[in-house]
């Protein structure tokens, strides 16, 4: 990682047990997303959904670097962030179905799975709206003298909206305890990011940090360990009062932008090429090579997680509907 001062450092490597738990979490996210699609086709999911298969490495790696006290602001494509922070599977599915046992009581839906008790501050469905929110949370931590950071996750598309610019300027100026993680999944809705994002020749989105005098890093988002390392260092910098970092995690979404989008605008072969670098495959192979996990253990992990996901979705579907009386209480604080 390159700091504003050009410094390179390294983070404490997580142990095998931790890495195995990350792998299991990534499998949970993958299977949960597949399950969302399944229950969608069964008519259990109102509205639309924005799935994240292929992007599990960014959220699991980043959240692996955080403590339960840290804040997270994500986006409408936020299922992986929510599950990485530990949102309960029943509350997850129930929210997507609009049931009262959902994490937001059925008020938010797929785009807004937020469990405040897990440090989640929001998941806007307005592009870039979370970036200043994360900046403010990081400022709050700094002013209150708290040893926590805020992580703002957002997509490549959000890097062209004004809030990106305004928030990064303020974050750097005020040395907010914030880490910005751009999940560059190559497409802003249906448009390749290089068609909408002016960059210097051969440049990356992370280079825009230079316009604010901010530290930056580009990491392989398919490698959860690489994301972890970058976020760990950025977290340490933020807590040391050295300011925020802009991290670009390069990744890919296997599905289209939303449920109705087949992703047909993608060049042939692109999806397959990315699937060769699947985040679950990369970490699984690493753990097997290191001897931390047996191939049979990996198989059991998939099976066990599938059972947990199926059961959670079934329990969620038994939840009741929220009532108007409940909902009215949510408009204003008492």
């Amino acid at each position: 990682m390159v700091g504003a001062e050009g410094r390179v450092a390294s983070a404490i490597a997580p142990g095998p047990d931790v890495l195995v738990s990350w792998l299991e979490k990534m499998i949970e996210i993958r299977l949960a997303e597949d399950k969302v699609m399944e229950i969608y086709m069964q008519g259990l999911v109102p509205g639309t959904v924005h799935l994240c298969q292929g992007m599990e490495g960014t959220s699991v790696g980043a959240c692996g670097a955080l403590t339960p006290d840290d804040w997270v602001v994500c986006t409408y494509r936020g299922h992986h962030h929510a599950l990485s922070r530990g949102v309960d599977l029943v509350g997850f599915f129930a929210e997507i179905m609009g049931r009262e046992n959902g994490v937001c009581g059925g008020m938010g839906g797929s785009s807004h799975i937020v469990d405040r008790s897990l440090g989640m501050l929001g998941s806007p469905a307005i592009i870039g709206a979370g970036i200043p929110v994360a900046t403010g949370a990081g400022l709050s931590a700094k002013l209150r003298g708290e040893q926590r950071v805020a992580v703002g996750f957002f997509g490549d598309g959000a890097c062209n909206i004004g809030t990106f610019h305004e928030a990064l300027n303020m974050a750097q100026l005020w040395r907010s305890q914030v880490v910005f993680v751009v999940e560059n999944n190559q497409y802003g809705e249906y448009t390749p990011y290089r068609d909408s994002t002016a960059l210097a020749d051969g440049g990356n989105i992370a280079d825009r940090a230079g316009a604010y005098g901010m530290a930056s890093a580009v990491v392989d988002g398919q490698d959860a360990r690489a994301v972890y390392e970058a976020v760990s260092l950025a977290r340490a910098r933020a807590l040391a009062g050295e300011g925020p970092t802009l991290i670009e995690a390069q990744t890919y979404r296997y599905r289209g932008h939303s449920r109705t989008d087949p992703g047909a605008y993608r060049p042939p072969g692109e999806l397959d090429a990315w699937k060769q670098r699947d985040p679950i495959g990369i970490l699984g192979d690493f753990l097997i090579t290191e001897g931390a996990l047996a191939a049979s253990g990996l198989e059991t992990m998939w099976e066990r997680t599938q059972v947990a996901v199926d059961e959670a979705a079934d329990v969620a579907a038994e939840g009741g509907w929220p009532t108007i009386q409940q909902a009215e209480g949510f408009v204003y604080a008492e």
Binding site: S111, H112, A125, N160, L173, T191, A198, E328
Partner: protein
């Protein structure tokens, strides 16, 4: 602050599209360089390679805040690197240095080399405003600023003696001030002049012949755009993913044509210059559309969902709506802002708003919300032909609905409601998706309760067709307004107030409103259904009158 940056991008877009060889220059301060619109505009200008020069006059102070308190880098020109754009810092008090930097940038822009950011570091010799005591500046800093007087420095550098010229100019200025002082005040009775451009003839509508042809609402909007673009090459459309998400090349298989498929196919017929995919930069491209509109184009912007418009509210509210009025009628802003609106699709709190009264309350813009394909086509063609900014709201539940759809081009007048069902006991005043609901309620009232309901489709929310509403209510004596927005300060409230003022003596019952609940739009289906107006609620409300 910063609103002008996007206007210059739009003017450069007009120049590039019309091929007139002009260059646009935007002047702004150091404070504006921290606004989001700066970022969106520079990115847009860079990806489109537009002939625009951004001149940041960094005078060291944003109002009373020094630049070091507001800007995280020393040189603002450094920010050009984010966009792969040349960025230079020059001594802004040095006339020749600025001239040279500008000449290079202008030459580059004219050659098709795209935009440049020039940061001119200058001094602010006076306060932020006349009478600013400037307690926040040290005496030394103010004194040294005066030492950088660009006129003195020009004189020193060039050796030209400006004494005689200064005296002559001073006299000219005195004379001009004297003349301005002697002039009369504008007539207060003319305060409403210049708000909108109204054609001399109230409307030159070309009504369609009755038709057997049916089509969907989506098709109607698409056909209106295609007809408008065929008729007038200055009409362009722009928005996120509208050409199909295929970038600037030929459309790939499966290209979407916008989130709702409305613009699918326009790229093939009109090309990428006139069917522009934009980055996700609502403020930047809406501002660019305003700039393009005042510089010769007639842009139609696709904002996707009405809930995204708060990001570009400055461009709508402060720029598009006020330019004509503030500039004394010199500038028309022929601009259409299309957007999907409305709830019922389980799209959640941030994708379901109507914002009817938000837009309808702004002087200087017109607001259209059609309920059927035939009206949608004719009203959109009128909106594009109109010389004012028009917000065109397309209710999401209507896209797939069908109805008669005349072929060819025709215009329906803005500001004219339509009585879609005649009745004698009560007037149901509805808009957009509320109209089919009101018609169904009218059927039930007739069948089950022998009540004869008249249904008015407002079609245009601003200007509002007060005559048609009044005439109906004066006859029926009862008025119920159906409005999908939350009730407070709603369109329904406005119509109720107008009727109370004009029809009080004719009313046989209190005016009633059927609105949404006074909450954001909930996601859960039973809650969203309860939130929205419904046939049931309309019938119930009429029964209580």
């Amino acid at each position: 602050m910063g609103g002008g940056i996007s206007l210059a991008v739009g003017a450069a877009l007009a120049s590039a599209t019309l091929g007139d060889g002009r260059v646009a220059v935007s002047f702004f301060g150091d404070g504006a360089a921290n606004q989001g619109i700066f970022h969106e505009s520079l990115n847009l200008a860079a990806i489109w390679g537009l002939p625009v020069i951004f001149v940041c006059e960094n005078n060291g102070w944003a109002e009373s805040t020094p630049v070091s308190y507001s800007t995280s880098v020393e040189d603002i020109s450094q920010r050009a690197l984010s966009y792969g754009m040349p960025g230079v810092t020059v001594d802004g008090s040095d006339y020749l240095a600025v001239h040279q930097a500008a000449a290079t940038a202008v030459e580059r822009a004219r050659q098709g080399g795209g935009p440049t950011l020039i940061e001119a570091k200058v001094v602010r010799m006076r306060g932020h405003y006349v009478g600013d005591p400037e307690q926040y500046r040290s005496r030394e800093e103010r004194r040294s600023a005066r030492g950088e007087d660009p006129v003195t420095r020009f004189q020193e550098a060039s050796g030209v003696d400006l004494t005689a010229f200064t005296a002559e100019t001073s006299m000219e200025l005195d004379k001009a001030v004297e003349m301005a002082r002697a002039a009369a005040w504008p007539d207060p009775l003319e305060v409403g002049r210049y708000v909108v451009d109204e054609p001399a003839a109230k409307h030159s509508a070309t009504m369609p012949a009755p038709t057997e042809r049916a089509g969907t609402f989506r098709q109607a909007v698409h056909e209106a755009l295609a007809e408008a673009m065929r008729a007038n090459t200055s009409v362009i459309v722009m928005g996120e993913d509208i050409s199909g998400g295929s970038g600037l090349g030929p459309p790939l298989e499966g290209a979407m044509g916008g989130t709702f498929g409305v613009t699918k196919g326009l790229l093939e017929e009109f090309g990428p210059e006139r069917v522009r995919d934009t980055p996700i930069s609502e403020a930047g491209f809406t501002g660019a559309a305003v700039g393009a509109a005042v510089a010769g184009l007639r842009p139609v912007v696709d904002l996707m969902w009405s809930s995204f418009t708060p990001y570009c509210f400055d461009q709508i509210f402060n720029q598009a709506a006020k330019m004509r009025y503030m500039f004394g009628g010199q500038t028309d802003v022929p601009l259409v802002l299309r957007m999907a609106a409305g709830a019922g699709l389980r799209a959640g709190g941030q994708h379901s708003d109507t914002l009817y009264s938000i837009f309808a309350s702004i002087p200087g813009i017109k607001v259209v919300a059609p309920s059927n394909p035939s009206d949608a086509k004719g009203l959109l063609l009128s909106a594009v032909a109109d010389n004012n900014p028009v917000v065109f709201l397309e209710h999401m539940s209507l896209y797939r609905t069908s109805g008669p759809l005349p072929e060819g081009s025709y215009e329906l007048p803005l500001g004219s409601a339509s009585v879609v069902r005649e009745g004698s006991d009560v007037s149901l005043i509805a808009v957009s998706a509320g109209v089919p609901m009101a018609l169904e309620a009218a059927d039930r009232l007739s069948d089950e309760f022998e009540t004869s309901a008249e249904v008015i489709d407002l079609r245009t929310l601003s200007p509002l067709d007060v005559e048609t509403i009044n005439a109906s209510v004066a006859r029926t004596g009862r008025a119920l307004v159906i409005d999908e927005s939350p009730p407070r300060c709603s369109l329904a409230s406005e119509i109720a107030a107008l009727l109370a003022e004009s029809c009080f003596g004719r009313l046989r019952a209190p005016i009633a409103r059927v609105c949404s609940a006074d909450t954001p739009v909930p996601f859960s289906p039973p809650l969203e259904d309860a939130f929205l107006p419904s046939v049931e609620r309309i019938v119930h409300a009429v029964r209580r009158m």
